[in-house]
Symmetry: C2
């Protein structure tokens, strides 16, 4: 398949020194595995709508037992993937692992520069620039609701340590199903996105708290009721343990006007649940590829929070919904919700990520568009 | 092989909800992989001298294509391992990954409680206790020597954020070959070890800085000269970039009397190199399973630092060497170095970890024994 003379360059997501996966100028990706004892090796992209294709790609074996395949041009951004060695799903030893699908999973970072025309927003908004950098802190706290020591990832903005008299607003930011508290920084680059926005004066300096969204027994099966149970158990942890721990440990402005919650996919569902049922605690609410609400449910959902638009619009500083154009279910979902909210005159904002699917590029862009809308007077 | 009725308990290193690997009461470990399409599956322990054995263990297939094996009793502690699926080295999807061997690698945590008698020091010294916890911060800085943005893991002790007038001594702590800046907290539990020591009043509150020890091109081959080049390049990064960045960002006491350096294996080699050739910068030096010095080299090594014992003993507050009893080369190495240093009347301390090999349990214990020896007047 690799008929192009362009040999590509190693992906930024490779482990130190690994030559593969390689990204070509037209954003095709070549994967490679040395596996002389295997009968078949395939590449399985974790998402769909990312240009890599949906099904597994067969890799071709050479005489030395090295298997390779080159995919069609990929959509820029971060894509989970794994290898199937004789049918067994395993990680690529050449790539870093990222927690997704409930386990450490390989990922490949496809840069924006290249043949695919997705140039909005600026392609380097999630790369580390020569600007002041905040820190990401692993913060341990005792959680009474789950009876365990847990850790949250906490972004503190540049200058936090020296601006001893300054207090900051806080965004609680949740990952998706199968991921954990490392996702928003490792896959999502949330810290670099905030660094760059703050340096440009486009977002106010804020603290961002990222915790693992699972606060229920691991035995709860994925199926009907899962999202509801995930939201209720995480909501209890959030309200009773996490927010008090953060307000005790950091120089926060501990009121609803300076507290936001957002999340992606399952985390968006959790953010809507926690936010809309706790307007005494949150005034800014975002759901990235996570709004699941039928127009018919509007009057009763979330304890009837939408039933009086005047009260809602006075209380909620921001209700913000996003999706990518190529994740059909979520894209249609926010379009119909948008129409229903418009009709009911519920103030809200919609953001659409062009050409991206149910993947991290949609959520990186969502954070980049959402954070500047927070905490303005 | 699994004839014991004891079914064991899931390892603490498993991903959320994974039932295998399981640790039995006598510390045998059962591994399991669903791989109906594989012709053979084996478990390969990453280290030796850990009770699991050196070679790969064949797993047995049942009629549903599920492969299992139970190992002999393991030495307590953290052990790297991987699976061989039809001869291809891959990670176990049931375990977390840890950066080792130059790639994300599976690991299994075997608790101290159980049938193997390794009870010194207290078995819970590296577990999170109900004591105040410090933070681990991912801190970005611009490194002139390598021309890149790099990140260090920085442990700040409990109370750091509120004790605004307090300044702290700093320990620079390095991982081994094939690992990275995440090793000392993820595999090594350095933060919990310090939390517990500080809570017990056995160590003074200190900052611990953990960076990736690679500051040279990835193309440098492992072989003769590798350690020397790794030490020189990392030494330049440390002295010219990392220490100034840490002293600028944190409330350090920025003098040699309050600055220590230590490391394990390759990191121990790097610590001896950086410390002993920069006594203007470091006064406390430790090498865990990393001392490689023949008695015949004593007079000339490290720019002749040992040539005048009186000067050395006046300048160096601590020279501290350790090894496990079952890592023969390093254990013999510190015994012979110990004898040579004794004969030359070079002040130093030796610590021996009973029954552990070239693995993290030796280094957890080494840190637990080393940290209390630092920064006393």
């Amino acid at each position: 398949m690799n008929t192009n003379p362009d040999q590509g360059t190693p992906a930024a997501s490779n482990v130190r020194g690994a030559e593969y996966p390689r990204i070509h100028a037209d954003l095709r990706v070549t994967f490679r595995l040395e596996a002389p004892g295997a009968q078949s090796v395939q590449v399985q992209p974790g998402g769909d709508g990312n240009g890599l294709g949906n099904g597994p790609f067969a890799m071709q074996r050479d005489s030395a037992g090295v298997w390779t395949v080159t995919t069609p041009p990929a959509v820029p951004g971060f894509h989970y993937y794994w290898l199937l060695v004789d049918g067994v799903a395993v990680n690529d030893p050449s790539s870093q692992t990222y927690f997704g699908y409930g386990r450490p999973t390989s990922g490949v970072e496809v840069p924006e520069e290249g043949g695919v025309e997705i140039l909005e927003p600026s392609v380097d908004f999630y790369e580390p620039q020569d600007v002041p950098h905040g820190e990401v802190r692993i913060h341990w706290y005792r959680a009474g609701t789950t009876g365990e020591w847990r850790s949250a990832y906490v972004y503190t903005p540049p200058g936090y340590d020296t601006a001893a008299a300054t207090r900051y607003p806080v965004l609680y930011l949740q990952h998706g199903a199968g991921e954990d508290e490392t996702g928003w920084t490792k896959q999502g680059r949330a810290n670099f996105i905030l660094d760059n926005l703050i340096a440009a004066g486009e977002a106010v300096p804020m603290i961002v708290v990222m915790e693992c969204g699972y606060a229920m027994p691991a035995s709860v099966p994925f199926g009907p009721g899962f999202l509801q149970q995930a939201s209720q158990s995480f909501g209890s942890l959030l309200i009773q343990d996490l927010i008090p721990a953060v307000d005790a440990a950091y120089r926060t402005i501990a009121d609803r006007e300076h507290r936001a919650i957002a999340g992606l996919s399952m985390g968006g569902f959790q953010a809507l649940h926690a936010g809309l049922t706790h307007l005494d605690i949150f005034a800014w609410i975002g759901a990235f590829s996570g709004a699941r609400l039928e127009a018919s449910e509007l009057d009763t959902a979330y304890d009837g929070v939408f039933s009086d638009p005047a009260i809602f619009n006075r209380q909620v500083r921001l209700l913000w919904l996003s999706a990518g154009t190529t994740e059909e279910r979520f894209y249609q979902g926010i379009q119909s919700l948008h129409a229903a909210l418009e009709q009911k005159k519920i103030a809200h904002e919609i953001y659409v990520s062009e050409g991206t699917s149910h993947e991290w590029q949609t959520w990186r862009r969502s954070l980049h568009a959402f954070a500047p809308r927070l905490f303005w007077r």
